[in-house]
């Protein structure tokens, strides 16, 4: 116990002696947490529309007015050649082309039917798909208006329409920040945890101070615990800071209890720090340990379920995510913060994370050699 106290003293002193790193541990997450969530909006708006109007009729003008009035579309180019509009797409100034053929109005009136052409930049498939769907529904609306002008309708509308109403549970205002802020906090916490510990032991190796520790009677688990505890405390402080930012800047108050989140976070941090230490015991230089932790972080973060849905990944990738602690914490955050789940609901995730924590730390203690 006494040994541990001295090691802790040494570690804390070492951390606080480097003001640059201390500043970064606290400042980087706070700044990122304030700025980044605002960027994370998948909702498609401001779709840039180029119109190639070969008709120049009342109808074509009415239609374009209706489209721009919808608020989803921004008319960036209005011309009369498809070539020109396509040029706008090539230069990335337009996402969508609406081509109105010659005689559009005449055909519609005389022949009862007319066709519009839509071309979508589909490199981002979702954006393309949603954009064209919006445009189509506006055109259908307009179609209905045109019919109303020409036909005296009987009592009921002649075309069968299905009215769609939708409601969004747990987050009725569809505020994506409620989802993103806790998620980004998890990512930041993970990065800080892994990064700080991943470098720590290997740094002592590189500088040579590890030799001095190796010749002392310090036990292996003392050493690992001494590295773990300071960063564990720092991690919890950073998380608290994060929740303060979430509260003050975004007004996010978890529906569930903070106690549940902190219990999970406490175990989660142990797992993440254990992973960092494990990397550190294997790496020979700080550069190596940084590259390995970058590699692991990138997989953890991009496949954590925050940015893209895990359900739409292929089978083998979903299998990988089962070994990804980040995906469990993000799930738990979502459950507790938005749905108000309690400890009983997150039992399974808590068990799995505890498993990670035990295995990773035990492995780190095992692979730390006092002899080189």
């Amino acid at each position: 116990m006494r040994t541990l106290k001295f090691i802790l003293q040494k570690e804390f002193r070492q951390i606080f002696r480097d003001p640059a790193i201390i500043r970064m541990i606290f400042l980087l997450p706070v700044i990122q947490l304030i700025i980044l969530p605002m960027a994370a909006d998948y909702e498609i708006k401001n779709i840039q529309l180029a119109v190639a109007d070969h008709d120049h009729s009342t109808y074509s003008r009415q239609l374009i007015n209706k489209i721009t009035a919808s608020g989803y579309f921004k008319l960036v180019d209005y011309g009369n050649s498809y070539r020109q509009s396509f040029g706008e797409i090539e230069k990335d100034r337009a996402d969508l082309i609406l081509e109105i053929p010659q005689q559009f109005e005449k055909q519609l009136v005389r022949e009862d039917a007319s066709t519009l052409f839509i071309a979508v930049n589909a490199i981002n498939g979702v954006k393309g798909g949603l954009g064209s769907a919006y445009l189509r529904s506006i055109i259908q609306d307009y179609n209905r208006e045109v019919r109303m002008q020409w036909i005296q309708f009987p009592k009921f509308s002649p075309e069968p329409t299905i009215e769609i109403t939708s409601s969004n549970w747990f987050n009725p205002l569809m505020n994506y920040k409620f989802f993103m802020v806790p998620g980004i906090l998890v990512l930041l916490l993970t990065m800080i945890g892994v990064n700080l510990t991943a470098i720590n032991i290997v740094r002592e190796k590189e500088i040579g101070t590890i030799e001095q520790i190796n010749v002392t009677p310090i036990k292996k688990y003392h050493f690992i615990l001494g590295k773990l505890i300071p960063f564990w405390i720092l991690g919890l402080v950073v998380m608290t800071l994060g929740f303060v930012v979430a509260r003050v800047v975004y007004g996010i108050i978890p529906v569930g209890s903070f106690a549940t989140i902190y219990i999970f976070a406490a175990v989660y941090l142990l797992a993440v720090l254990g992973l960092g230490l494990l990397i550190s015991t294997y790496a020979a230089t700080q550069q190596q340990s940084m590259l390995i932790s970058f590699f692991i972080m990138m997989i953890f973060i991009l496949m954590g379920g925050l940015y893209t849905s895990i359900d739409s990944m292929p089978e083998w990738a979903q299998w990988i995510t089962r070994f990804n602690p980040v995906s469990y914490f993000i799930e738990v955050m979502r459950m507790v913060v938005l749905k108000g789940s309690g400890l009983a609901d997150i039992k399974q995730q808590l068990l799995i994370i505890s498993g990670f924590a035990v295995v990773l730390n035990a492995w780190a203690i095992y692979s730390y050699r006092k002899r080189s």
Binding site: D41, S114, A122, I123, F156, P160, A284, I301
Partner: protein, 368 residues
């Protein structure tokens, strides 16, 4: 010149002697591109949904069948009451519930008006939004089919063409994005610790007393890494063409030169971090914790930049990966030439000069 070359030789020895690190540097980008190229898609596929069917008639059955048949949705066992919905959401078994009211067919046939309610689990609002829109589109399709049978007058048809990516593959969007990310971060990290490492180890002093100019010392540090990065670019491009089926529609020479330019920008950024940092740890912290998330979020492949609030759109301009992502998308997938991306190229060029200039300015030739 001879001194310069021997300096570069020294740096090469440094890197090639550390086999393990070199292996990591060369293999890591390959693994990342393959994993993310296949696994990442912001497309919502096979989302689990259920139906609370109060009608149980021909039209409702047809509608459910149409939803299930689309690639977006996967039907789960039916719900029996409104309460089942919240339970299913809490357990996470479904993400969308479709509520069909009684007399759905009747309403549709005789009054020509029927209602469908979509209930989404909006704890992930982005997914919920997409699902509601997709379900809406499928229902609209179904409605169109009935309408067509009835031959209404004054019908505007629409024909939709998906340019560049007719199958709507996620890889077309994510491969350029991941390329930008991997190259930027790996290159930055490579150089970020080089100079500060020499400072920490004390070997910096030896370098400073050499007759070589400071600027050349800095550049000599970056050149071996530039060669490594070129190997990485080639392997990434080969993988995306032959493994991920993402074509190179434009000129390969242009794509290569743009990639090399971007690599130099990233290496210079790393040098800048390295000359400013006090320890390797600080350098790593800046290049990983400080740059990772901003690169993911502002480069535009995850979240379209034009969706962001104005101030954030302005901030996004300082992220080099954003410009490179636009260039790769344009050259690789749209197949356009330099005339469409000269502006982005200029921005990258400017960034390179800025980073190198700042790195040089910060580089102290006296030890504190």
């Amino acid at each position: 010149m001879k001194q310069f070359i021997s300096f570069i030789r020294k740096e090469f020895y440094h890197i090639f002697r550390d086999r393990k690190t070199m292996l990591i540097l060369l293999v890591m980008p390959i693994v990342q591109i393959v994993i993310f190229g296949f696994a990442l898609t912001n497309e919502v596929k096979n989302s689990k949904f259920s139906v609370l069917d109060n009608a149980h008639d021909a039209a409702s059955a047809a509608l459910i069948q149409q939803l299930d048949a689309s690639q977006y949705f996967e039907l789960q066992s039916n719900l029996h009451s409104y309460n089942d919905i919240s339970e299913a959401f809490k357990k996470g078994t479904i993400k969308l519930a479709v509520v069909i009211p009684e007399h759905f067919s009747d309403d549709l046939e005789h009054q020509n008006k029927a209602q469908v309610q979509l209930v989404a689990d909006a704890s992930d609002p982005n997914v919920a939004n997409t699902l509601v829109n997709y379900a809406g589109a499928v229902i609209l399709d179904y409605q169109d089919r009935i309408t067509q049978d009835k031959k209404l007058p004054y019908t505007i048809n629409t024909e939709i063409r998906m340019l560049y990516n007719p199958q709507l593959k996620g890889a077309y969007n994510f491969v350029p994005g991941v390329m930008a990310m991997v190259l930027l971060l790996v290159c930055t990290m490579m150089t970020a610790i080089t100079i500060v490492k020499e400072k920490e180890m004390g070997t910096m002093e030896i370098m400073l007393v050499s007759p070589l100019k400071p600027l050349l010392i800095i550049i000599a540090k970056a050149i071996p890494y530039l060669l490594l990065s070129i190997v990485n670019i080639i392997s990434i491009l080969l993988l995306s063409v032959f493994v991920l089926d993402v074509p190179i529609n434009g000129s390969i020479v242009l794509l290569m030169s743009e990639s090399i330019l971007f690599t130099i920008v990233s290496l210079s950024l790393g040098l800048l971090i390295s000359t400013g940092a006090s320890s390797q740890q600080t350098a790593m912290f800046i290049s990983l914790v400080g740059m990772f998330l901003p690169t993911v979020m502002f480069s535009g492949f995850m979240f379209p930049v034009e969706n962001m609030p104005k101030p954030l759109q302005i901030i996004s301009n300082i992220v080099p990966a954003k410009w490179y992502y636009i260039i790769v998308r344009s050259v690789m997938i749209k197949g356009v030439g330099i005339e469409a991306v000269w502006k982005e190229t200029l921005v990258l060029f400017g960034m390179m000069l800025f980073f190198l200039g700042m790195a040089f300015k910060q580089f102290k030739i006296r030890l504190a």
